[in-house]
């Protein structure tokens, strides 16, 4: 009985120590990535290439999802607002929901599953096939050459994708409410223009998406770099990237929202 309790305690202890160790390793990895960022900007074409892979190639899923989310918001908003005779306010509802919340959050969730998982799998496989080791052997620092450009590529892409998501979403809302249902076009746009504040809504949305971009890319790159060099290792790391970054996005969103929109 005592032996079993001791063994249980030991397992718990081992897990805690492991988690703390891994957290420390991740922090060190993140600091090194930031410290060695000079290459990503001095040789900006490396970062541009990554912006293409993480940003441009994610455009289709972002645009299609944005359009549908905007259309659904338009439908639902109109349904509720017309009961109170203020159907024209649907433009405001769509725009605020998208710029403040849905744009940054949904775009980041899609970014994590589309680009984050791809980044983890790529880095994990580069490690498993000794490409990272070969780079080290050629006296080229893999953190500066491989991780840095991917990190900054992701951080730059994320707010642009979120902006694209919101813009297309607003257009989706317009299509449904103005073109299809027949809400007054002038009221739709003017109410939206009056209600959406640049500093309060747009800038805060952009800040959120930058924070999500840092979180998702850092998690994806660390998981890839830390993945055991086996098929199970890489697949496990890819799953962890999507799960951890999705939870991180939602958690961070709550904290940021609490700071940004306190009934002001």
């Amino acid at each position: 009985m005592v032996e079993r309790a001791v063994r249980g305690l030991r397992v718990v202890g081992h897990r805690v120590v492991n988690s703390v160790w891994r957290l420390g390793y991740a922090s060190r990895f993140f600091s090194l990535t930031l410290l060695k960022s000079a290459t990503s900007f001095r040789r900006f074409h490396l970062t541009i290439k990554e912006i293409y892979f993480t940003g441009v190639l994610s455009l289709i899923i972002i645009i299609v999802s944005g359009l549908f989310v905007g259309m659904v918001l338009g439908l639902q908003g109109y349904e509720t607002l017309q009961k109170y005779g203020s159907a024209e306010a649907v433009g405001t509802l769509v725009a605020l929901s998208l710029t403040r919340e849905l744009g940054p959050v949904v775009a980041a969730l899609l970014f994590a599953s589309r680009a984050g998982s791809a980044m983890t799998a790529e880095i994990g496989l580069m490690k498993a096939t000794e490409q990272i080791a070969a780079m080290e052997m050629m006296a080229v620092d893999p953190i500066a050459r491989v991780i840095g450009p991917r990190f900054w590529g992701g951080v730059i892409s994320m707010p642009l994708l979120a902006a694209m998501f919101s813009a297309v979403g607003v257009f989706g809302g317009y299509l449904i409410t103005v073109v299809l249902i027949g809400v007054d076009e002038g009221a739709f746009w003017s109410q939206m223009q009056n209600a959406v504040d640049f500093r309060q809504d747009i800038v805060n949305g952009v800040i959120k998406s930058v924070v999500f971009g840092v979180a998702v890319t850092a998690i994806a790159l660390f998981e890839g770099y830390d993945a055991p060099p086996t098929a199970e290792g890489v697949s496990g790391a890819t799953t962890r990237t999507v799960v951890t970054s999705s939870l991180a996005i939602l958690g961070l969103d709550f904290v940021l929202t609490a700071f940004m929109f306190r009934g002001a």
Binding site: M126, Q131, A134, E136, M138, D141
Partner: protein, 268 residues
Amino acid sequence: MENLVEVKDVSFTYDVRPVLQRINMTVPRGKVVTIMGLSGCGKTTLLRLIAGWLKPTAGEVRVAGRATHELTHDEIYEMRRKMGMLFQFGALFTDMSVFDNVAFPLREHTGLPESMIRDLVMMKLHAVGLRGVHRRMPAELSGGMQRRVALARAIALDPLLIMYDEPFTALDPISFSAIGHVIRRLNDTLGATSIVVTHDVQETLPIVDYVYFMSDGAVVAQGTPDDIRNSREPFVHQFVWGEIDGPMAFHYPGAPYREELRLEPAHG
């Protein structure tokens, strides 16, 4: 003759598991030296110690007269620029073409204009007989060709020391002799020094100058290829002639067979 690499009384322990025990080895300039032994005997660890990747737990590794464990991070990178390493499966960058792979070290470390890089890459690819595939991606090449491209990349900066980690693994016989031939020729024409880690005895002996045999993390025999062929030492004899029975047991130690199959009751 001056030695390029000197391994003196080197031991290495991974966590608590001893991997290398008091290894002594010298690699003279201009020679091709091979390290032979079964998989898992510590050969690759030894290469990593020479490359300054790992630090010895005891003893020292000197490359071109300098002890690797005393070097700073930048000095180790400086040293590695004069080394080329061929990995077991090539380790080519799969997102780059053959040309870009070979050009990689040149673009990273030299400020040469693109026209000159092109000429150098073509010369290196010509040396391994693959100038004709420079536009292809690594996935479009056979295993043997990939390894030759990786070799062209390893010699791109004209290294003093070329290290080969199991260069013959999983190759067809033609690629096999092609790689062997290229290793010897490159060493002699570049004036380099080579270390070949392998367990392919018959194919390697004709192309090398000196052989070290390792077993369980220690050097158990050494000599010229002729010494090795004529050796009466049981370990070397078993290894060279591929005999199943000998000092190296076929069976990994385990519980008694009959007991494992539950043919007789365990003690107690």
